[in-house]
């Protein structure tokens, strides 16, 4: 165990150093047999994880609960705010203080930005941010990095395309920040109205990262090692017609992939709607379901490091 890992809470991916990220990913790799149920683990026997989900989520909540249970722990919590005392007007600060008295760790998803930061101020047990509004979702980024490393052997030395809603997508912001800590080349593919925010572009320039901004997936697909797809949401466009026109060109089909490298891998944080057609699923390039499965060992590693740190 790397004793360098000293974190009280996990709020944003930027809180981690490259070394800490490597520590988590290395441990996640060791956790795979336990995550798959092939090995029994009781490290968390007698421990309780509170999963407080003020916003619905399937993968994130289930994979945290699976991670905890695979290590012998138990979970308490709620999956919708309607079932919590927030509905009665309780502040988040109070909910957190109460939950900290019941559990050994807290996983929080909340619709407001900064909620996890606030929670960390009021909790004496570790708080893990599982998404705060348009803010951060660090464990998604960790499992994305884990998947990239698993699929390509390393995070560095890859040309990674990131496509979809780059303006509002918190997943792509966190991922881009994390990738900029490694030696990667990035291509951002989006309609001009949904480009990466200026602060992210400025950060890449400061860090000397090679990146390109293009309109169409096909433009640089032949040179890519990884393509990270995300959804373009209907509500970002003034009319349904505008949306349909733009969204269609971000639909990945099997034939679109014909000009790509043999070992290109396609990722997606899920849920997808139309942006990856079902005919891509059967190709060896489709790694998004594996990516979702990787949420369990990655979150196991994080829980373990926090508990022991």
């Amino acid at each position: 165990m790397n004793l360098e890992f000293k974190k009280d809470h996990v709020v944003a991916i930027d809180d981690f150093t490259v070394e800490e990220i490597k520590t988590i990913l290395d441990l996640a790799e060791e956790m795979i047999p336990i995550a798959e149920g092939k090995e029994i683990n009781t490290d968390f026997e007698g421990k309780i994880l509170a999963t407080l989900f003020f916003e619905p989520s399937t993968r994130t909540r289930l994979s945290f609960e699976a991670a905890m249970k695979r290590m012998g722990g138990r979970c308490i919590g709620f999956a919708r705010p309607g079932t919590s005392s927030a509905k009665k007007g309780e502040t988040l600060a109070d909910t957190i203080r109460v939950a900290a008295g019941y559990a050994d760790m807290i996983v929080l998803r909340h619709p407001q930005e900064g909620a996890a930061q606030l929670a960390s101020n009021f909790s004496d047990v570790p708080v893990i941010n599982a998404g705060d509004g348009a803010g951060h979702h660090p464990t998604q980024t960790l499992l994305d990095l884990f998947t990239i490393r698993e699929e390509k052997g390393s995070i560095s030395n890859n040309h990674i395309g990131i496509a979809g809603d780059l303006k509002y997508g918190r997943t792509v912001h966190s991922l881009t920040k994390a990738l900029s800590m490694f030696d990667t080349e990035m291509t951002f593919i989006s309609p001009p109205s949904l480009r990466m925010p200026e602060e992210i572009i400025n950060m890449l320039k400061r860090r000397g990262i090679e990146f390109h901004e293009v309109d169409q997936i096909e433009e640089t697909l032949d040179d890519m090692d990884l393509l990270y797809m995300t959804r373009i949401q209907r509500e970002r466009f003034p009319s349904d017609e505008d949306y349909q026109k733009v969204a269609r060109s971000y639909h990945l089909k099997r034939e679109t992939l014909e000009n790509s490298k043999d070992d290109l891998k396609v990722m997606h944080p899920l849920p997808r709607v139309d942006e990856i057609k079902a005919d891509v699923d059967e190709t060896p390039k489709a790694r998004y379901f594996q990516q979702a499965a990787n949420g369990v060992p990655t979150r196991m590693a994080l829980l373990k490091l926090l508990q022991e740190g």
Binding site: T91, L92, P111, E113, L118, N121, A134, G135
Partner: protein, 157 residues
């Protein structure tokens, strides 16, 4: 500087604090930042707005009988970085400071992001890191949204 103030007919005070070179239109906000609006205090507080000076229009605030402390008036720099603070004793300026930007701004401005947790009913003060000087740039410790110049004065609590 004192000569100019006399020329523009600002009544001198015997003892207290004169905040000069406040950006035009910001005097009320300075009073709010210094908590001189709602608080019950003995001092007479007066304010002059739209005063002519060599560098254009400015506002002035006078607080009689009270010497403000650095940590109080440095908060003014967030909305008026060129303001100066004069401590007056027996009608004489005994100390003159230009306001300095603090590293952190706590409980002075609210976050412009409506969806920031600090804009909900939570038992916390807003907190910003000062990340830029000209123009003043603040970054919310909670939602990380940045605010610049006018946005800051618009959001004074």
């Amino acid at each position: 500087m004192e000569g100019k103030e006399k020329k523009i007919k600002i009544t001198p005070i015997e003892h207290g604090t004169v905040i000069d070179h406040i950006k035009r239109g910001q005097a009320m906000k300075v009073l709010r930042i210094l908590d001189l609006v709602d608080r019950e205090i003995d001092s007479i507080v007066s304010m002059a707005m739209n005063v002519n000076s060599s560098k254009g229009k400015k506002d002035i605030v006078k607080v009689e009988g009270k010497e403000l402390k650095n940590e109080e008036f440095d908060k003014i720099s967030l909305i008026s970085p060129n303001a100066t603070v004069n401590i007056i004793r027996d009608f004489e300026v005994v100390q003159k400071h230009r306001v300095e930007l603090p590293d952190m701004a706590k409980g002075i401005v609210k976050c412009k992001n409506n969806n920031c947790i600090t804009n909900k009913r939570e038992p916390i003060e807003t907190e910003f890191e000062v990340i830029g000087e000209e123009p003043v740039r603040l970054k919310c410790v909670y939602c990380e949204r940045e605010m610049v110049g006018e946005e800051i004065s618009r959001n004074v609590i």
